[in-house]
Symmetry: C2
Subunit: 333 residues, 2 copies
DNA sequence: CCTGGGGATTAAAACGTTTCCACAGCGCGA
DNA sequence: TCGCGCTGTGGAAACGTTTTAATCCCCAGG
């Protein structure tokens, strides 16, 4: 409980508190001899700077917020790893928020972040209401969208083209000869799910099929468990020849349920997922999927955010859009 | 950038800043009429409390730190989900730190947490040096160990019995008739890896085998990629009849490498992992594993920590030790 | 009518830093 | 020798909140 402050350090080193602050923040401005004395005092007393006091006075913190939809999904985990790496390199702390797909929870998390006066926020928004994010900006908190296109021009965003992804996926399935298709999706409040569906329909149209014939099964969450349930619904109404899932977790669940009930993949049903998480390649029947530069998404978004924070004058807002890449495996052989 | 402070609210509501602070922190202490007026002013101005100022004055924050070894490992992800849920229920923010197995990085993270004056820290330590954690305690920061037994009596810890787990695992493999065994482990600086090995040796001794005959392959990280590499080493010196991996990621990697080189699991080699992550059941050959109450680990540890912070006088330190549970699947059929 | 007590509110100090301004000392050119 | 500018340091105010002690007001009891 030995609360040692900058004053104690100053006293021990025989300088003023202002000087200690200088060696902490602009070591160049202080004479080498003094600096050494201060540094000695710091380590002798085991001083650690009080971040809150610093934030209060300086008006900004060295903390960023990260709000994701499902921390249990390897996709977001990998994004988080990228974020954490960059943040930690630059001495920033990351406050993690898991919205679990609920905008209420997301709002609560954003509120916490606002109270903490984080420097900026990285967010994969759960809903489509830009107003909440604008409120953050009014408080001087930069926002970078992750895996989501920009809401406005004066904002950075790093996304992956989900329409193209959905289109490529379904084109691949059609190429395997499938004519009846189902799309197993998460909540259609999630943009990614909607856009992948649009892409899917475009692919059908492109192949001369009626896009309305796409059977859509909407799961409550994007988890393997929900995928198993969705497979039940699918089977109840007669299995299609191909199933496209909005992410790999759903696909893994569908796969498990199909195999358990004796349906062969890909012989009876061709199946693919999305995200290309590590486990897609390792599953019972290895899973065809759409690969996204996940870790890079996190890294780049963080670099953009921190650049916006640290160099507000030279910073140029960027809208980055990656293209996903199809990885074909056994499930669509 | 409209920095609206408690004073602005006070002015608008026609009360003093102290009263506003009271409606924020002890609404019961203020007359209903006044409270309403203040609340109206708060929402009219869009006031959000400055957490740093609050922390500075109050001497403690509503933030906890979470330091894990590998955020990419579903085991820790699930722990983190449990932590996040409890923290968010109680209005705490979580600062995430990923040590990536490096004590240096862990130290840096702990330093950041100390600067933030977090209320407490949940940590799965990378190394075995309790001194660094004691330093946190000297700063008044409570520490709860996660998936690690307590260093000292006046400390909470939530762990799983890794010796028992290792023993049960290898007993199971021996029960399948295997007589030559290998243990594919992560760095032996990680306690879990060491204890699972000890358990494994105990099982061998118990079966009348020489524990020294256990072939130990130490991988640099506990990832699937490292597992693939380890399988190479294993094969180079002649495959054993059974392989026990220190976690499922390693096991998945070993499995992939074995199958690719034409080795059949479980016919040629029986294989098992540890943690029972979701994907263990979904893999090519479904994986036998040791299940741990992962999400609960996170929840309980957080509840313990927050109880220690919020009720320091009535709080009783607890050392909780769960028993892992064997889940048999195809890989050891 | 006076006194006392209790609830509601206020005023002011304090938390630990950062930052702005002033000032001291020094070297250098005039 | 004087003055100027430059560098390094000190002093003090300020950041937004919480908290303690003090004050105010009102009402009940005597």
């Amino acid at each position: 409980m030995a609360m040692v402050s900058i004053k104690d350090v100053a006293a021990l080193a025989g300088v003023s508190p202002g000087t200690v602050s200088n060696v902490l923040n602009r070591p160049g401005k202080v004479a080498p001899a003094t600096r050494e004395r201060v540094e000695a005092a710091i380590s002798e007393l085991g001083f650690v700077r009080h971040g809150s006091a610093s934030t209060l006075r300086a008006g900004h913190s060295r903390t960023i917020g990260l709000s994701v939809i499902d921390i249990g999904n390897p996709f977001f985990t990998e994004v988080a790893a990228g974020v954490e790496d960059v943040a930690s390199e630059l001495g920033y702390a990351v406050i993690l928020g898991n919205s679990a797909g609920s905008t209420d929870k997301e709002d609560r998390n954003l509120r916490v972040l606002a109270e903490h006066r984080v420097r900026g926020v990285l967010i994969t928004p759960s809903g489509e209401d830009p107003a909440r994010l604008d409120r953050l900006r009014e408080h001087g908190i930069s926002v970078v969208l992750v895996d989501h296109p920009a809401h406005r021009p004066d904002q950075c965003a790093v996304a992956v083209d989900d329409v193209a992804g959905g289109r490529a996926a379904v084109a691949h399935l059609l190429g395997k000869g499938a004519r009846s298709l189902a799309y197993v999706t998460g909540p259609l409040t999630i943009r990614q799910c909607v856009e992948r569906r649009e892409g899917a329909k475009m692919a059908m149209t492109g192949a001369g099929l009626d896009p309305a014939a796409l059977r859509v099964v909407e799961a409550a969450t994007m988890t393997a468990k929900a995928g198993e349930k969705a497979a039940g619904e699918l089977a109840a109404a007669g299995l299609p020849e191909a199933v496209f899932c909005a992410n790999d977790l759903l696909a893994l669940g569908v796969l498990r349920a199909l195999l358990r009930s004796g349906v062969r993949v890909p012989e009876d049903v061709v199946l693919m997922g999305y995200d290309d998480i590590d486990f897609a390649a390792a599953s019972t029947v290895s899973l065809t999927s759409m690969r996204q530069p996940t870790y890079q998404l996190g890294r780049i978004a963080t670099e953009l955010l921190l650049d916006e924070c640290d160099n507000p004058d030279t910073h140029a807002h960027q809208h980055i859009m990656f293209q996903p890449e199809l990885v074909a495996r056994e499930s669509t052989q």
